[in-house]
């Protein structure tokens, strides 16, 4: 019945699972499979539970798709429609490929969030233990309305997450494997693709230009791996290579970075030398030939590799820090880098001065300026952590305090002037005294006050937990009213049974326990009262609903 509310994205017929024919459904949040002729799903996985999908190699007779779950289990679907098996499988794969990453992040984020909440809030953790671990309600129900308010209340928390950088070796992780017949196979994951896009924006551009209008995704990546762009040591031959433009763009980017120069004057090799020798003077040059014409192919490919490494590292570094940069910041940076422009001269010295000061600083030759502190040397760190605990939790007053207060009172009494017009009448006064005397009306509660002395602490603790748990359940219960949707209807039924279960598994044993210890039974009186109220409400609602339904059926008849 739940599937009714879900949106079905893709239906693939003639899919076998465990040698049984059936139909595969891809829905908004899960993937499901039901055997033919039945309207039940025997297999159903939430996307969030799926770790990855695998497909059978192209050449194979059986066309399969395997789902590997986070738990390590796996499910294999065999596409058996002869005419369109491959197409079906690819369609399923594509869709999954788009869906899985979304849920992956969500799943991880949610789990983290839940974990954090439980760790931070011991009461909640106890509640979780009481209700979920002891299977009074399911985990989903428990979290159902909790996560919502947390997310709403604290939107910044999820936003300022730290951006994850890119591994420097992500291209190395794409290990080509030979497939046995003179070909190479590259395994790409979503992570690697993302890394490529983030590091080389030019490739991303190409991707969005060409896929899927001109090329399929697979073709795109095949070309990528064949391209001169990927293998920088190869000399570019084909001009129709779509990536040759990327290479040009990179070159341009690199050049603009070089032209922009460096911010730190201490690493600027161009301005290092004060007075270069004029042309024609000097001993001999380090790099005899600079013209490209007489460089051998090997040499230029070597220098291409070197350029590539520099560029790659720079791009990886930039990809990591690109996000945080604001455009305004960037603008000021560029203006201050150009050492020659007029106004830059006013910007530059501070950077330079700071760097120079840093370099000439000998921190150990200077006396430390801050006040001298004594390092804390702990012999028993646990004593430090807990602090001294008083033997009795009483408030001590010093004798000086007492003397002071006595003096104060005495002083007050000296200045006391009765205000005789505003005193009580004698009858009222005497009745008030009677009420406040032991046995009087107002003093009856005093017997009950002693509960914290009558009941041992562990029972108190347990009672507290029971109150919290019951409160949580009742909150769920009462939140269902007014019952105006089928979902709430379902929930209120469930909550009622939950409450009953709670009474059976938690409250009754507790009652028995306190009876065994001969404690006054009305400890749980209030709890029971609350539960009874809930039951009454439920009962009223149910009877009313039955009448309503009867009415309706009468009408229908």
């Amino acid at each position: 019945m739940s599937s009714l509310s879900e949106e079905v994205l893709l239906v693939v017929k003639k899919v076998r699972q465990r040698k049984q024919d059936g139909t595969l459904y891809l829905m908004a949040e899960r993937i499901a499979w039901g055997p033919e002729g039945k309207d039940r799903f025997t297999v159903s996985h939430l996307y969030a539970d799926i770790r990855c999908q695998k497909i059978s190699p192209d050449g194979k007779a059986k066309i399969q798709l395997q789902l590997v779950l986070h738990t390590g289990e796996s499910t294999t679907f065999h596409f058996s429609n002869e005419s369109s098996a491959l197409k079906d499988r690819d369609a399923a794969k594509e869709l999954l490929q788009q869906l899985l990453p979304k849920f992956k992040k969500k799943a991880n984020k949610e789990l983290e969030e839940k974990n954090r909440m439980l760790q931070e809030d011991p009461v909640l953790f106890q509640l979780y233990k009481d209700l979920v671990v002891s299977q009074v309600i399911s985990a989903d129900e428990f979290w159902a309305n909790r996560l919502g308010d947390i997310n709403n209340a604290d939107p910044t928390l999820s936003n300022n997450k730290q951006e994850v950088g890119i591994s420097g070796a992500f291209l190395a992780d794409i290990r080509p494997q030979t497939d046995g017949c003179n070909g190479l196979r590259y395994n790409l994951t979503a992570d690697i693709i993302e890394s490529i896009f983030r590091t080389y924006p030019a490739v991303k551009e190409k991707y969005s230009e060409n896929v899927p209008h001109n090329l399929t995704e697979k073709d795109f990546w095949t070309r990528f791996f064949q391209s001169h762009y990927f293998h920088r040591d190869r000399i570019n031959t084909g001009t129709q290579d779509i990536f040759s433009e990327c290479a040009k763009q990179d070159e341009k980017g690199l050049k603009s970075m070089v032209v922009q120069g460096v911010k730190n004057p201490l690493v600027d090799l161009l301005s290092l030398e004060d007075k270069t020798l004029d042309e024609g003077y000097g001993f001999c040059k380090t790099f005899p030939s600079t013209s490209n014409s007489n460089r051998t192919v090997k040499e230029s490919s070597n220098s291409a590799i070197i350029k590539r490494f520099n560029h790659h590292s720079a791009m990886v570094l930039a990809a990591g820090s690109r996000k945080g940069e604001t455009p305004a910041d960037h603008a000021s940076e560029t203006s201050s880098t150009d050492g020659n422009s007029r106004d830059s001269d006013f910007f530059q010295p501070p950077v330079k001065k700071v760097k120079l000061q840093e370099v000439i600083e000998y921190e150990d030759l200077q006396r430390e300026n801050r006040p001298k502190t004594i390092a804390l040397n702990l012999k028993k760190s646990d004593r430090y952590a807990h602090g001294p605990v008083p033997l009795q939790s009483q408030h001590y007053t010093t004798s000086q305090d007492i003397i002071n207060s006595v003096n104060y009172i005495r002083h007050e009494m000296l200045n006391y002037k009765p205000n005789l017009t505003q005193v009580l009448s004698s009858t009222t006064a005497s009745s008030a005294i009677a009420a406040l005397s032991p046995g009087g009306v107002l003093m009856q509660a005093a017997t009950q006050q002693a509960i914290n002395q009558m009941v041992p602490t562990e029972v108190q603790g347990e009672l507290k937990h029971l109150y919290v748990a019951a409160g949580e359940l009742l909150r769920h219960f009462w939140s269902c009213f007014p019952v105006n949707t089928p979902f709430l209807e379902e929930k209120v039924m469930k909550m009622k049974s939950n409450l009953e279960r709670f009474q059976m598994t938690k409250l009754c044993p507790f009652q028995e326990k306190i009876q065994r210890q001969y404690l006054s039974t009305n400890l749980t009186g209030h709890l029971e009262e609350m539960l009874q109220t809930a039951y009454r409400k439920f009962h009223v609602w149910q009877t009313r609903r039955m009448q309503y339904l009867e009415c309706h059926s009468d009408h229908l008849l």
Partner: protein, 760 residues
């Protein structure tokens, strides 16, 4: 703190002092007392600069008549600026302690490119362009022409400076390059000319080597500096190469072609002037007959710094008659040019000495030695007379005339090599005439002769005794200081074998060996897994690095390294490398970690420091020998052997080891810093190599770490890094490698300090 260095009150702007700094100052004071030269080696990061400045300034204040000026030469622009900043700190400390305002003038001088504030000129990218443009706006005759034609472009900053800038000296204070620009902008004066003018009366001048060592520049800038100056060459481990470079000339066909057009222009200009203003040429002629007497008088009275291109003898004579008139001189140049062209038409390599060359030129085109010697001076005079605007255009003919003067002046210390093609491309004709200086002492001789104390100092000057020999001077002090350490923060390891026991070496025979390359790759891979943040690896040459990177790429080693760290690689292009360097630092900063592959003798190995996390390990792949097949190098080695009795191998090893030491020393920049130094070549274990490393590195190499395998090195490194990662506080150092004034004054400590300096 205030120190007492053998009776001299020295203000030291810190609360604590390293023992070696104290020792260094002692030696320095003795050198100044003796009015002699000194060679001092002290590890980088032990506050060499501030010790030097503190002592010399204290000396200057105490004996203002003995030492009038400090000329501090460093190598790179950032280093120059660093020195000035330290100086500023010291001066602030002085005025705080003494309560009186500072009356010292200290300034940095750099090329026009770094000082120009003219909006159009300073926008140019290259130093040469800036110089040329500046010259075209400020040359004296251009400005003279402007009187008749006020529409000509003008540099208002120079005009303003010329009008009023010289009347009032620059107020006392410390001026860095930016401060000079600021000052210039405020006053509307040209900072470059202001600085050049002000160095004459400044107490402290900080500039680059070239202003003192390159005769072409020294003649313009430093000629009139006072004799009673102290000259300091910091980072001087390469000083011999700077000297040689400034005196060597290379002539290609392109140079000759450009020279040809220059000469043509000269001729045309002469024709034109003859028609309009013949008197000018006549005046020049008269001046030349008079001779170069002025310069001679000035040099004899010790006002000028001698110029090695302009030898003493020619100053006493007049310019010979056959090149005295302008036309004759142009004709003479043409003949000389034709001769050079014919020499470049060779098919085989020719090597000859200067006298041989002179004899040949006399035989073939009848050019005498004497007019050749006056060539440079004569050309300068002509260019002045003809009022040529853009001197930069005439660089080719200036080069040729300099060559003519040099080749006819020095019969020794130079060699001429004519190569018809490059060794690597024997099919492409590209003839080059190398006129190379082999004796660094020629360029530096005037400096030693003129100034009373010259201090040569660096972090790596081992072996110390070789510098006085190749620079031909007698130092009064030579000392090497070690680094006192509270914890051993450097860990030199010599990795001689791979895990498969293959001997690791970059020597020529095994250079292409795959086993060696693979093991080198393994070493880098393993290190990338255990070393935090930055690793710098140096190769012996660029070609070698390219090959290794290519084969590591093929073998998939680089991919594996990328799993641990990002990879950046030095390229021949300086701008690209700068960017790679900055990205490298960024990757070290943000915790990702990176590896920089670089080249010994390259720009990175010479000028960039890798402090703290920017370099937790340096790996030196191979021994960075210079390319020994070069004929110029061979000639130089021969010369060293014959003249200075330095064996070829000794020099080569010395040269290789100083570069290796420079590379590995890049990682340690102070006592709180730490780093691994991995020498990946079994040849480092040999006593002749190891013995040439600086003492402060050598003493930490123990016998156990002489021939490690990769695995063993990894184990030792892990241990080292774990120890170093522990917190290191000031208290840990105090009393051992860091002293308070009281600790310094104790008898026991003074005895200890006496041992730090290692006299040779």
């Amino acid at each position: 703190m205030k120190l007492n260095i053998e009776g001299l009150l020295v203000y030291f702007p810190y609360d604590y002092i390293y023992p070696e700094q104290y020792s260094y100052m002692l030696e320095l004071k003795r050198t100044l007392d003796a009015k002699g030269h000194g060679v001092l080696e002290m590890p980088s990061g032990t506050g060499k600069t501030i010790s030097l400045l503190s002592l010399i300034i204290a000396y200057q204040k105490a004996f203002p008549l003995e030492v009038t000026k400090l000329i501090y030469c460093s190598r790179t622009v950032p280093e120059i600026e660093k020195v000035v900043e330290e100086l500023r700190k010291l001066m602030e400390f002085y005025s705080k302690q003494t309560g009186e305002s500072n009356n010292f003038l200290a300034l940095a001088l750099s090329s026009r490119k770094n000082l120009c504030i003219h909006p159009e000129v300073s926008a140019l990218r290259f130093g040469k362009e800036v110089d040329g443009k500046c010259h075209s706006l400020t040359a004296s005759y251009i400005r003279a022409q402007r009187h008749s034609d006020p529409d000509m472009p003008v540099c208002r900053f120079y005009e303003e400076f010329d009008a009023v800038g010289r009347q009032v000296p620059l107020p006392a204070g410390v001026y860095n390059l930016d401060d000079l620009k600021e000052f210039g902008r405020r006053k509307g004066w040209c900072p470059y000319y202001l600085a050049r003018y002000s160095i004459l009366h400044a107490n402290i001048v900080v500039y680059s080597y070239h202003y003192l060592l390159d005769p072409k520049i020294a003649d313009l800038v430093s000629k009139e500096l006072a004799k009673k100056s102290v000259v300091v060459f910091d980072e001087a481990h390469n000083i011999d190469n700077v000297c040689i470079d400034s005196m060597s000339v290379n002539i290609t066909r392109r140079t000759l072609d450009r020279c040809h057009t220059n000469v043509d222009t000269l001729q045309n200009t002469i024709e034109k002037i003859k028609e309009t203003d013949a008197a000018k040429l006549k005046m020049e002629y008269r001046r030349l007959v008079e001779g170069l007497k002025e310069a001679n008088v000035a040099r004899e009275t010790d006002v000028y710094l001698a110029n090695p291109v302009l030898p003493d003898e020619i100053l006493k004579e007049a310019v010979p008659g056959n090149i005295r008139t302008a036309e004759h001189f142009v004709g003479f140049l043409k003949r000389f040019l034709e001769y050079l062209k014919s020499r470049l038409r060779v098919q085989h390599v020719v090597q000859e000495s200067a006298p041989q060359f002179l004899k040949d030129i006399f035989d073939k085109v009848c050019i005498d030695r004497k007019p050749l010697r006056f060539c440079a001076e004569r050309l300068q005079s002509l260019l002045r007379t003809l009022e040529i605007a853009d001197i930069a255009d005439f660089s080719a003919v200036t080069l040729i005339s300099n060559f003519a003067t040099l080749v006819s002046t020095y019969s020794q210390g130079f060699t001429i090599i004519i190569e018809p093609f490059e060794d690597r491309t024997p099919t492409i004709a590209n003839p080059v005439l190398h006129f190379s200086c082999m004796d660094p002492s020629i360029a530096i001789k005037p400096v030693f002769q003129r100034f009373q104390s010259v201090i040569i100092t660096s972090g790596t000057l081992s072996p110390l005794d070789i510098y006085p020999r190749i620079l031909d001077f007698r130092p009064v002090t030579m000392a090497s200081f070690t680094m006192t350490l509270a914890r051993t923060c450097l860990c030199p390891l010599i990795v001689g074998r791979g895990n498969d026991q293959v001997a690791l070496s970059s020597k020529f025979e095994t250079r292409e060996d795959f086993a060696v390359i693979r093991n080198y790759g393994n070493l880098l891979l393993e290190m990338s897994a255990i070393v935090p943040d930055g690793i710098v690896a140096f190769f012996t040459s660029y070609v070698y690095m390219e090959n290794i990177v290519a084969s590591w790429y093929e073998q998939g080693i680089l991919e594996n390294i990328q799993r641990n760290k990002l990879i950046f690689i030095e390229t021949p292009d300086a701008a690209e490398t700068s960017m790679a360097l900055e990205k490298y630092q960024e990757a070290c900063e943000n915790g990702r970690g990176a590896i920089l592959l670089s080249v010994a003798r390259g720009k990175v190995s010479e000028g960039i420091d890798f402090v703290h996390h920017f370099g937790r390990a340096v790996i030196m792949f191979g021994v960075p020998y210079v390319y020994t097949q070069s004929r110029i190098l061979k000639a130089r080695l021969e010369y060293l052997r014959d003249q200075f009795q330095i064996r070829e191998n000794d020099f080569l090893t010395f040269d290789a080891m100083r570069h290796a030491a420079q590379c590995v020393g890049r990682a340690i920049r102070g006592k709180t810093d730490y780093g691994l130094m991995i020498f990946a070549d079994k040849r480092y274990a040999r006593a002749d190599k190891r013995g040439k490393l600086p003492r402060w590195i050598q003493e930490h190499i123990n016998d156990g770490s002489l021939n490690l395998t990769v695995d063993e090195a990894v184990q030792l490194s892990k241990h080292f890094l774990r120890q170093m990662a522990q917190p290191f506080r000031q208290e840990d150092q105090l009393g051992l490698s860091l002293l308070t004034l009281e600790q310094l004054e104790s008898e026991e400590m003074l005895q200890k300090i006496a041992k730090i300096a290692h006299q040779t």
